[in-house]
């Protein structure tokens, strides 16, 4: 099978010289849940942000190596970054609704892409909310402020906001960081449904969560991709001693 995202020899260096990623090579395949785990500051979020070029916002950083999305180099001249970000969509760790109604939030990306037909927008709103398991809770108050939602609802709103764009890849950066166990369960459960349609790359909240949701997983340590394998192998019989030490809680 062809990978949907293909990373080769990727280095990322911040302006101050910190090497956040060192020679990372990784293939992501369609319709899998790939989990990137590792201790804090190991480069997980940086790698996630590179995949849809949100890393462009980091001033003075240096990137070496290549990332291909569906065979196309995403750093090539003339790449439409806005289109890339609609296809590879990020859900942030801290749920951040935009000021405005729930509906405004869901249609924002589409409107910015020039889609104005009400019927299309309505349909996308409902479908995205259903996929994010939020529809029943908000269907009667789509025009209320998105800030009135609870933490778990906000996170699902942000997920739905990405889904409304009908992306191919969803980047989830610790999507359950601030959530209670119940909401966390809802988000985790929805992943199984979502991967039928989308490819999911996720930074988990914990090793336990990684084990619960991953099809495949990669262990990042100090910007180095130590080990990649199918989840059942990686979490039961890791090849690298460092992976084993981390999984068994010896550090991190």
């Amino acid at each position: 099978m062809e990978p949907i995202i293909s990373i080769r020899n990727l280095f990322f260096t911040y302006k101050d010289g910190t090497e956040a990623l060192k020679n990372v090579s990784l293939d992501i395949y369609p319709n899998e849940v790939f989990v990137l785990f590792g201790p804090a500051r190991s480069g997980k979020t940086t790698l996630l942000r590179l995949l849809n070029r949100l890393s462009d916002l980091i001033e003075g950083a240096r990137i070496q190596g290549t990332i291909q999305f569906k065979g196309q180099d995403i750093f090539a001249r003339g790449v439409d970054v806005t289109a890339l970000r609609r296809q590879v969509s990020m859900v942030f760790a801290i749920p951040t609704p935009l000021p405005g109604s729930i509906r405004d939030n869901l249609t924002y990306g589409l409107r910015m892409a020039g889609i104005r037909r009400m019927s299309v927008l309505e349909e996308r709103v409902e479908r995205a909310l259903r996929q994010a398991a939020l529809w029943d809770e908000v269907k009667d108050r789509l025009d209320e402020s998105a800030f009135a939602l609870s933490g778990g609802q906000k996170q699902r709103l942000c997920l739905a906001r990405s889904l409304a764009l009908e992306p191919e890849v969803i980047l989830l950066d610790n999507p359950t960081s601030g959530l209670d166990p119940l909401s966390t369960g809802m988000v985790e459960d929805s992943l199984y449904e979502l991967k039928q349609r989308y490819t999911i790359i996720m930074v988990p909240h914990s090793v336990q969560q990684a084990g619960r949701v991953a099809d495949r997983a990669g262990f990042l340590l100090d910007g180095e991709l130590v080990e990649v394998n199918r989840a059942e192998r990686l979490f039961t019989s890791p090849r690298d001693q460092r992976t084993e030490d981390y999984i068994t809680g010896r550090f991190g």
């Binding site: 970000r85 942030f92 951040t96 910015m112």
Partner: protein
């Protein structure tokens, strides 16, 4: 003396001195109100001056100042908002930006009479606008640029960064992000800055001295190329150039000017506080 006693004395001294700040402004307002209130009447506000300006009203000057205030807003706002957006969103820390910032700081420090002379040289003579509302508005507009730019930039920067990141992540362009996420939320702050700038412009005499202000025109201006009377200059004229001028008229004029400026400041304050209330984050 114990440390606690020192502390008490220090606080007492500081708060007393801080309290003194209020006294001049109260005295100025009180003084002008007491002396000027008697002159205020419907006729004073709506009639042109008569009898060598010793009688009648201030209508042409009042209307002229209102025109000039609008003109200043129209001249300054596009420039200032564009500059603020550039500085806050695009500029970064480059040599060009440092020059632009230096220029803005220095604009703020230029004496107003120098603006007046610049306006005379540039707009009245070089561009040949003549002594006109256009020349005066442009001169006042440039003078208000620094305060408007810096408040507008501050307003733009106060919009949380996360909204920009989220907007970009949803595939919006940088300009769409500014247009749809940043400006709507910065607008009240920008308007506050504009109004504060205007309230200063409305009361300035020196910049309009050579560029627009007329000693005496009984009728209202008919186009932006006309001269006009204006309150600050009118006040200057009737205070220094007209012998036998009744004092109450001078204070009445000062009172009207003061109220005009204060009401602008009041509007700015109201806009700002309503913005804070409406803010959702």
């Amino acid at each position: 003396m114990t440390r606690q006693q020192t502390q008490k004395i220090a606080v007492a001294v500081i708060s007393t001195v801080a309290g003194l700040v209020v006294i001049p402004i109260l005295l100025v307002i009180l003084f002008i109100v007491v002396n000027g209130i008697g002159a205020i009447s419907w006729e004073f506000l709506t009639a042109p001056p008569k009898n060598g300006m010793r009688e009648g009203g201030i209508m042409p000057a009042l209307v002229g100042t209102i025109f000039l205030t609008f003109g200043t807003a129209i001249a300054a706002m596009p420039l200032a908002i564009a500059a603020a957006i550039y500085l806050a969103e695009y500029a970064g820390d480059t040599r060009l930006t440092r020059w632009v910032r230096l220029a803005i700081v220095n604009l703020a420090g230029i004496p107003s009479i120098v603006y007046g002379l610049f306006g005379l040289g540039a707009f009245v003579l070089y561009f040949n606008f003549g002594t006109s509302i256009l020349a005066g508005s442009l001169t006042l507009g440039i003078m208000t640029l620094p305060v408007v730019i810096s408040t507008a930039e501050e307003a733009i920067l106060s919009v949380p960064r996360e909204f920009r990141v989220v907007s970009l992540s949803l595939g919006a362009t940088r300009w769409q992000t500014i247009r749809h996420q940043v400006l709507p939320h910065a607008l009240p702050g920008i308007i506050t800055g504009v109004i504060l700038g205007l309230s200063r412009a409305a009361g300035e005499t020196a910049p309009i001295l050579f560029t627009v202000a007329a000693f005496y025109v009984p009728h209202l201006p008919r186009s932006i190329f006309d001269q006009t009377m204006a309150l600050p200059y009118h006040l200057y004229v009737i205070s220094t150039q007209v012998p036998g001028m009744p004092l109450s008229n001078q204070y009445g004029t000062a009172l009207v000017l003061l109220l005009l400026v204060l009401s602008l400041t009041l509007v700015a304050t109201i806009v700002r506080s309503r913005m804070r209330q409406r803010r959702q984050w």
